[in-house]
Amino acid sequence: MSDPSKIVPQKEISTCFHCGEDCKDEILHFDGKEFCCTGCQLVYEVLNENDLCNYYDIAENPGLSQKDLSKRDNRFDYLDDADVIKKLVDFQNGAETHITFNIPLIHCASCIWLLENLHKLHEGVVSGRVDFIKKKVQVKFLQDKISLKDLVKLLSRIGYEPTINLADTDKKQVQSMDKKLITKLAVAGFCFGNMMLFSLPEYFSEAELLGQGFKKTFNYLNVLLALPVFFYSATDYYRSAWLSVRNKAVNMDVPIAIGIVTLFTYSLYDIFILGNEGYMDTLGGLLFFLLIGKYYQQKTYDTLSFDRDYKSYFPIAVTRLVKDEEEVIPLIKLNVGDIIRVRNSELIPSDSILLDGEAFIDYSFVTGEEVPVSKKKGELIYAGGRQKGKAITLAVQKSPSQGYLTDLWNNESFDKDKNHGLESLANKISGKFTFTVLMIALLSLLFWIWAGNTSLGVLAFTSVLIITCPCALAMSTPFTLGNTLRVFGQGKLYLKNAQVIEKLAKIDTVVFDKTGTLTAPSEAKVQYFGEPLSAESKSLIKAIVNQSTHALSNRINTWLEGIRAVSLTGEVEEFTGKGLRTNYKSQEIKLGSADFVGADSSGLPNGGNLVFFAVEDFVLGYFFIQSGLRKGVDQLVDAVQKEKEVHFLSGDQDHERQNLKRVFGDNIQMSFNQGPSDKLQYIKSLNASGKNTLMIGDGLNDAGALRESSIGIAVTDKVTNFSPASDAIMDAGMLYKLPKFLDFTKTSRSIIKASFGLSFTYNTVGVFFAVQGLVSPVFCAILMPISSISVVLFTTLTTNYIAHKRGLKEKIW
């Protein structure tokens, strides 16, 4: 049943053939189909001419509305610049160019089909290949037939405009790390499997049956297969151990490296000198299991980016005015004193003074507040805001990298690696562990020499080193953390890497950004003051705000939920940044700012937005709209407060202090009027006083604080959207689960400790036999996998079971 209030009794609604949206303002008829705007129609025309209408058959209404797109012809002119081209392309030779575009609009099978059939649209395009998950398309084209600029224009003409931003021009390659690990793992797995096959007959005395020749061959083959394991797969451990020893510390990789080297050299001696079977299969298995653990820990989220700075947000080019002539230049070439023009939905690239035009700046990416701010001529506008409305002219005051916001990235905390000396559990114990093992080995050697049996002493010495090689010990951390990482991922808290978990467990101070993090636009608090609204007025207002997409209109619309909209006879005119106007029953109705309706706003509450309602220039009342707190935030703060210190940081004035105090109590330290650098300094001073800080923020203005804190979590309504560089990205809807997540990090630590206990038990058993010189290759080949696998099973089972019990996971598996 449809809700009668939701039916808007207007003219018949038809949907656009291209994008499937309702044709609200106009309906264009073309080729027997209906379109909502000229943009959509143009895309259809292009596709139709080139016989590519298959696009519309693969998915229903695959296009995206072309209404709000900038249609300026010269906006891609910067793509003629040779420097820019060189930085953007992946590969270029005399004839062909390869380039990878980021196209966030890719969303369905039709998109893939169309973008992979680009060669049918233009003969200069050789091929296109889409990566759907990463929303990227790699295009190969002949630069003599189509220039990069024309290619981008072509893409934008068919509705797939690539986003090209400043970060694209200085690419970094980080992916190869992962591939190398897989290669090493594959080599270790291959060698381990084959060595196991050659060693099995030995364990069952079958080799005797086959005769001496076979036994020797198998052993030599094992040596051969152990070479790639020892010289290739294990190299990371030597390097890490060496680095750690040089820094006069002992990390987990030191005992591992000692174990590997002893295993290998002793096995060589055993096979070639003594003619025995050696421990090569154990060596292969050891590396194989260790590398699996390493790989499991490196869970990455392809679609997320944890390293974004302002560069991935800022445009690559800007329109400069020189003697009233427009020219498009790359942003890097922008100088102080230049006059620039910024159009609707374009970004202000640097701190500048408004020269001309009406500025309504949307700072939602910077502060999290989505209601545009109006600026007057001569006022300074900070970089990072987006202009809503007509074009404005600005005089550049600071270079793009030196502004109020971007200056953050020049702070020293962005240069150093984020490492606050928090040692992982495994590294902490490995020093003592290595020392103890060496002591036991030496003592048993001395004991046997004293007893007059030097060869048994050497055997006992090497056996202890081999058997205590901390395979199980080394695996407890990666598997526990890897599992925790996955549990958190299912709970929509995406961590950059596994180290974050151990650091989270140590947090004692939590700092929240207010706007956009604790408060959310969608939870707006709307109050009405003035003459009571009649039912008719309410439905009239509902009908008016229905026609507008402005943030405040949406909030009033939500407030009037359930009210039936009246049918309007006249048009609703929207004056950007001012308000809405219409005629109803031959009366002029206005809804908007004080200036717009002619009201006097002095003495009215501030700390929110005011929307006045006026009929025939008589002000009936006003709406007072504040962004409200997210659901569950009060319980969240309460829960966190029990164990940790809580701070609030806000860029706003402190008029809400009382309000917040009422909700959250007096124990919270609140600071207002905090600019981007103030937030960074605030965290810095907390750190200096010995606190382990967790910063939770959302906008670019929190980037410094997120970076400086031990752990920074970026909160976002849509995880694939823009979020500033951080250690973790969290879905805003899951914020209420934060205490549970924090608690679980401690549980992870306990699980790691418990599995340490388990592997110590194995080691004690092993050492008991090793000091007596009783360790044989068979013994090793059995004890080693059992200990590793049981530790893996233990950590995986307990982590998932506890996560399930705590409600962090729906199913255990």
Partner: protein
């Protein structure tokens, strides 16, 4: 029993070939995107003729 020497050689060569093929596939980027090919394979090779007042319903 000497035939085992030959079998061992064959098994090693076979396993080595698989390892090599795996490396080649990885280098070629076969494991980088495992979503798009699943969609790509469903596209018809030739777009149908221009006459399509009726949206195509897949009969096969």
């Amino acid at each position: 029993m000497e035939v085992i020497f030959i079998l061992i050689a064959i098994s090693l060569i076979l396993a080595g070939t698989f390892l090599f093929l795996f490396f080649r596939a990885m280098k070629g980027g076969q494991f980088e995107d495992n979503h798009t090919p699943a969609i790509r394979i469903l596209f018809d090779n030739e777009p149908k003729t221009k006459d399509k007042k009726v949206p195509s319903t897949k009969l096969k």
